[in-house]
Subunit: 380 residues, 2 copies
């Protein structure tokens, strides 16, 4: 057994909350879930239609290792429409979720011992994947009172000639903040390879949606269909790399995955046919949920202190009530039956935080916040 | 760029054949494909029904990281029915194809520099995956005149205290041979961790189908739904590990993949409901195709010289016509429009071989062998 590796991988603390919540539910207790990182929306009928038609027409054998040409073409067109960018389908790989896109991009770019900079708070998988593939994690921390923006002058003195990769996640999980154009420009000027995880791209409520590719043409982009299109279980993502990397990515994909799930690839073709109007109305709904959550938190005396402008998360500083976010989250669960994600999953600096998701129904969000109110009133 | 890693990964030579074949087809030439490693059968209606019902009922969000409990239970029952083995669903992971099962099992067991023994001829991905994750490949070669069985006394002196893992593939791609019970017993007695890739399990035409788990309870088993159930594009596999490894596998799965594609997991539940009668009639058809292929080869003066008793491949020694299987395969393609898989994909020793697949229709197989006859008659 590779005990050293296995034991170095940290569990997701939110899983402890989930497991505990499941046990309580088995005992008949009603739990409200605001810890989830996936939309509870049904997928659009276009997605269902294309997938079912793929199944019925027996289009379910291996695809091209880089993905169905029709899907890569549709994604290419979307980049042109949304960002005025010409991205050749030839430097695109359709992947098994954004997760595999991240795996492929790390393996294609990182050598053993390479220093990889993460921006804290970060998606919990990043440091684990870097460890699994033998890189060295270096953590740059952003601050709530700087709206979780990367402080460019601090960042400049933070990186060194040893920094081989920067992993960016904008819009961010867990803060729900997008980095500004100024920050993206700055990062692009550093001449360090960027892997930009844009899985929450499109879920923007204040400013226009962005891609690093408008600033750094040789950045690697990780994206997928899980969040904007609610296709989490379909496991479908895509990866855009500079042309010189695509052959390497393809060889890795052939050996590790053969190709991405084909029924899901057809579903994704359907997703890209959804009209702008329908996406816009989805976005207004998310925006209304966000606004409701922020104002309800305000009513509880919790000023989040920054502007979550994208994705579907609010990252709450609870330091006045809690030092250990796992204990705190378990206590909330036990006392009032509300599940939240503990901040320590997103970096050691944020162990006094919890992450709340507004990706579920209005009713669920309302119920959850009512329970949080009760908790704060009665147990803190 | 991780140039060292990327450039060390060998391409699949069969891809050169495929690309060339595609180009010829684009020009209007009719090509017969016997190089393919996937069944051309449509999937069973049960598979379609369960998958479509999953889509329509919106059961398409993330599943448990180890897979849907209902699917793991069905697989557990199958092991009891087929092999009289009680395999707890708790030590099973549903994976994104057998490919990911292999990736997870290597990462969970292999440390950097560990020596991994492969049995040549081997599935081309094995040495590449071992290289990608930092292991050392050691190749044990089997011989046609020993029916591609592992010679146990030679194997005993081949391994050393440095051998940390053995990857077994029985039934085998590319030979279509299953290792005997005697060999499985022998391997199990060595007290070296075995990863047994049983993806062709069930496709047996002479003897009963076997699993290493009947001989080595602590072996790791890689399996999936691509071959027996023709679900290649669905990307669904499963992994069975000793209980002490499952937590590590789960942590790797959560970070690298989250979970296997959920629509495909529902499809697989359908696959496991297919009756024994229907599987038996599929097997008789494969057997008839194999017999036809062997007798047609015999008519061409090619005695394959061993007994391919399983999977859907025949591995032909063509050394009397060819020294370089890639050149030879390209020549066959150019001259008579027949695509075959070059032997060098399966190990350096077998560069005088080609692999023929009988996983397509009778008509296609007949056409292919007619073309091979023409080639041998006119161009050798």
């Amino acid at each position: 057994m590779n005990e050293k590796l296995i034991s170095s991988i940290e569990p997701f603390y939110v899983m402890e909350i989930l497991e505990k919540a499941n046990k309580l539910e088995e005992k008949g207790r009603k739990i409200v879930h605001l810890e989830i990182g996936e939309p509870t929306e049904s997928v659009h009928p276009f997605i269902k239609k294309e997938a079912i038609s793929g199944i019925n027409r027996n289009n379910d054998k291996y695809s091209h290792s880089l993905g169905l040409p029709a899907l890569r073409n549709s994604i290419s067109k979307k980049y042109f429409k949304d960002f005025n960018l010409k991205i050749s389908p030839d430097r695109m790989a359709i992947t098994t979720g954004a997760s595999s896109a991240l795996v492929l991009s790390l393996l294609a770019t990182m050598s053993k011992g390479d220093e990889v900079v993460l921006v804290e708070p970060y998606y919990p998988c990043y440091p684990q994947l870097i460890k699994i593939f033998g890189g060295k994690v270096k953590i740059f921390t952003t601050r709530l009172d700087e709206n979780f923006q990367i402080n460019t002058s601090k960042f400049k003195s933070f990186i060194s000639s040893k920094t081989k990769l920067i992993i960016l996640n904008s819009p961010s999980n867990p803060t729900g903040v997008s980095q500004s154009a100024k920050v993206l420009k700055f990062l692009s000027s550093l001449k360090i390879q960027i892997i930009s995880d844009e899985i929450y791209q499109g879920l923007n409520y204040e400013a226009e949606t962005k891609t690093i590719l408008n600033y750094a043409p040789s950045a690697i982009v990780v994206n997928g269909f899980s969040k904007l299109y609610s296709m989490t279980g379909w496991r479908l993502g895509h990866l855009i790399v500079p042309m010189k990397l695509i052959r390497g990515v393809q060889k890795l994909q052939q050996n590790m995955f053969i190709c991405a799930p084909v029924i899901s690839q057809y579903g994704a073709i359907g997703a890209l046919r959804i009209s702008k109007n329908e996406i816009d109305s989805l976005l207004s709904e998310y925006k209304a949920k966000r606004d409701f959550m922020l104002s309800a938190l305000n009513d509880l005396g919790i000023d989040v202190g920054y502007s979550p402008d994208s994705s579907f998360y609010v990252f709450c500083n609870m330091e006045k009530y809690c030092k250990d976010s796992l204990k705190f989250s378990l206590d909330i669960l036990n006392r009032v039956g509300l599940a939240v994600a503990p901040g320590r999953d997103f970096g050691p600096t944020f162990n006094g935080y919890i992450r709340l998701s507004y990706s579920s129904s209005f009713k669920n969000i309302k119920n959850g916040l009512k329970r949080l109110k009760k908790y704060i009133k009665e147990y803190t």
